[in-house]
Amino acid sequence: MDFSINEDQAMLQDSVAKFIANDYDFDSRQASAATDAGFSRERWTEFAELGWTAVPFAEEDGGLDGGPVELMLMMEQFGKGLVVEPFLPCIVLAGGVLKRLATSEQKAQWLAPLIDGSKLGALAYAEPQSRFDLTNVATTATRDGDGFVLNGHKAVVLNGGNADTLIVVARTSGDATDEHGISLFAVDANSGGIRRKSYPTVDARQAAEIYFDNVHVAGDQLLGDIDNGLPTLKAVVTDGIIAVAAEAVGIMQTLNGKTLEYTKSRVQFGAPIASFQALQHRMVDMFVMYEQTRSLLLHAVMMQDEDDADAARRAVAALKIQIGTEARKLGEEAVQLHGGMGVTWELDVAHYFKRLTMIDTLFGNADHHLDRYELS
């Protein structure tokens, strides 16, 4: 039993932490978020040059063989910096599908450009009616000679407006909520028949509604076996949950630090409000929430390397439940203890809080995972 990280992991953690601390100040983050793309392309190129975009991929694919631990270490720092660059949609999600299913030819065509940063990707899975149910896929891909024709509407596709490459989840057989009959396709975002309405999100990311109207794709754009895309989609969503949970833990730590700092300096009724015991005990609760959440993060990450699939699935669900309850509560407390300042756009605390809150929604909120939790 060992909770320590190895040297390479420590180096990675260190390099990201240094970058965030020294080169990723809040003001330029806000400036990047205010652009149409919602992030800085130069930053993204830096990420690629530093090799970060290659971390989760196999060496033979030009990657660095990183696993869940590396993902956690990076995302936690991204959380602390409130990084807006599309690491999650582009590398974890789109990249996550490609690394699992793509042939070497497909990887050369679709994955390599994501890793070197020349192209951006997105994963289009949710739909207006699906809520958080991954099996609810109404978008269809119907055979057409050697290829397929896509029709449907994908909802709130993260980075969908920026993406050059879309990984599209579509139904090739079965009924709207069958587990079987779901297939994955790599699609050029500029193909004919694709219409995109892109918009910023409340947590300063970028997303889009994407409409597929008889979009023709070639047979070699099918990723993996036909009808059998669900297991991969679930695996990728697991990566996604670990990623945003680690990001959330980074945010929690930051908010606790800023709240302590603020309450120590903020004077009311002649004393720093940090001296009021009622607030002290609430900050202690926030500290405990953070520690407990970090514990569930480590648990979920470490279970990925164990060979008990059920327990690993439970660990991820437990983590997401915790994030959707304790992390959100912590965010609300941080804002409350900041008083009026906490609800102003000017203060970074408000933006950490918004991101932390919306993370509950990604990949199914706490209620969703609690109602479906498979008790051991």
């Binding site: 990311r205 009311q268 804002v335 906490g342 000017e346 209620d367």
Partner: protein, 401 residues
């Protein structure tokens, strides 16, 4: 004897009010409200003038000044019907804040000069009591009003000034005497034309990206002493009265009931090819818990009301209404956000403005800016005396701690 039913007179009054909202609430404003579109100044003014035409503007004012003179039960009925119609509240700064201070403490001259324009919504008022850094510690205010001949010269900064960008006048709590034993002394209540030289308004953008509140700066602003309300140095007392009036309907039960009913509708509706949210056990449990809590709040509110009807003044117990009322609003905001799923994420505050074509709309949900509302209303447990302050009040004045 204990009895929940309304009297014949009260039932008749309810019919009258219902008819008013059915017939006189402008369709375009109703549409904006239902679609979550921010109202323009003109919308507020037009609506308030309609209310005034029907004598519904000054709900809390005595009849002699043009108020309704309603009983607490009538006020309760009116608030309920207003919420059921989803009609906008009146902007409180004139009619609910400065108005009562003027008719309670102001001179005859001030009453005649200001009250009619408030009733007729000819003048838009904003508040000038909060200050940067003061937070819930109002008495620590630093704005100075120095006497100079027949004028005061005001210097300082006021903040959290809601809709101050529209305001014609502002009421200012300022220090006219710094040499006092208690910080609450030496504060005066002064009325000030926003067009006076030296006043500048800086917008404060709130967490959700909206411009609702402002910072108002006073730099050597000359205000005639004639604009002083009541006696010099008694402003703190007047301010407390004002804050008490701010407390009317503080629990916001009627609005919360309306929102909960709509939320349940929403949860029962299954999207094509999807399933209804009410079938999710955890969300259903939250709806039940919310209905229970809201019912408890409604009756706590009614009990306070009954106490007032029998002549008792609303005591510090009303702090319960502030705490629970805001918790309820925030709980509903949370559930709306959760109900929206992924569609809580789009940051499209203006997509519901009337001139956006359906084709350009991102979401066709009926509760559009759900997450934005959730974020914005985190303020509810902070403003008007934070809920922590309310707990201190109950501890001290109710529990004797």
């Amino acid at each position: 004897r204990m009895d929940l039913t309304f009297s014949q007179e009260e039932l008749a009054f309810r019919e009258e009010v219902r008819a008013f909202f059915a017939n006189h609430y402008p369709e375009d404003i109703r549409t904006k409200m239902n679609r979550g579109i921010r109202l323009a100044k003109e919308d507020f003014v037009r609506w308030q003038k309609i209310l005034h035409q029907h004598g519904y503007m000054a709900v809390n004012w005595p009849v002699e000044y043009g108020g309704t003179g309603w009983t607490p039960v009538q006020k309760y009925i009116f608030a309920t019907e207003m919420a059921e119609a989803n009609a906008p509240d009146v902007v409180p700064f004139g009619v609910n804040m400065v108005g009562p201070v003027i008719y309670t403490f102001g001179s005859e001259e001030l009453k005649q000069r200001f009250l009619p324009d408030i009733l007729e919504s000819n003048v838009w008022w904003c508040q000038g009591y909060s200050e940067p850094g003061a937070g819930s510690d109002l008495a620590s205010l630093k704005t100075l009003a120095v006497r100079d001949g027949d004028d005061y010269i005001i210097n300082g900064t006021k903040t959290w000034t809601t809709l101050g960008q529209h305001a014609d006048w502002i009421f200012v709590l300022a220090r006219t005497n710094t040499d006092v034993a208690r910080r609450q002394e030496g504060i005066s209540f002064i009325l000030c034309d926003m067009n006076t030289p030296g006043i500048s308004v800086r917008p404060i953008i709130t967490i959700e990206g909206g411009h609702e509140v402002n910072e108002v700066h006073f730099e050597d602003v000359r205000v005639p002493v004639a604009n002083l309300v009541g006696e010099e140095g008694r402003g703190w007392t007047y301010g407390k009265v004002l804050l008490q009036h701010e407390r009317t309907n503080i629990a916001g039960v009627a609005r919360s009931k309306y929102r909960l009913a709509r939320l349940k509708e929403l949860a029962r509706k299954a999207p094509d090819g999807g399933s209804a949210l009410i079938d999710e056990p955890s969300f259903r449990a939250k709806l039940v818990r919310t209905e229970v809590d809201l019912k408890a709040l409604e009756f706590t509110d009614l009990r306070t009301l009954a106490a007032i009807s029998t002549g008792k003044a609303p005591g510090p117990e009303s702090s319960i209404l502030k705490i629970k009322g805001t918790e309820m609003q925030q709980q509903l905001d949370t559930l709306y956000m959760e109900a929206a799923g992924y569609y809580a994420m789009p940051f499209v505050p203006d997509q519901f403005s009337l001139d956006v074509s359906a084709d350009d709309m991102v979401v066709d949900s009926t509760e559009p800016t759900t997450a934005l509302r959730y974020f914005n209303y985190r303020k509810a447990s902070i403003y008007g005396g934070s809920n922590e302050i309310q707990k201190n009040i109950i501890a001290k004045h109710v529990l004797g701690l």
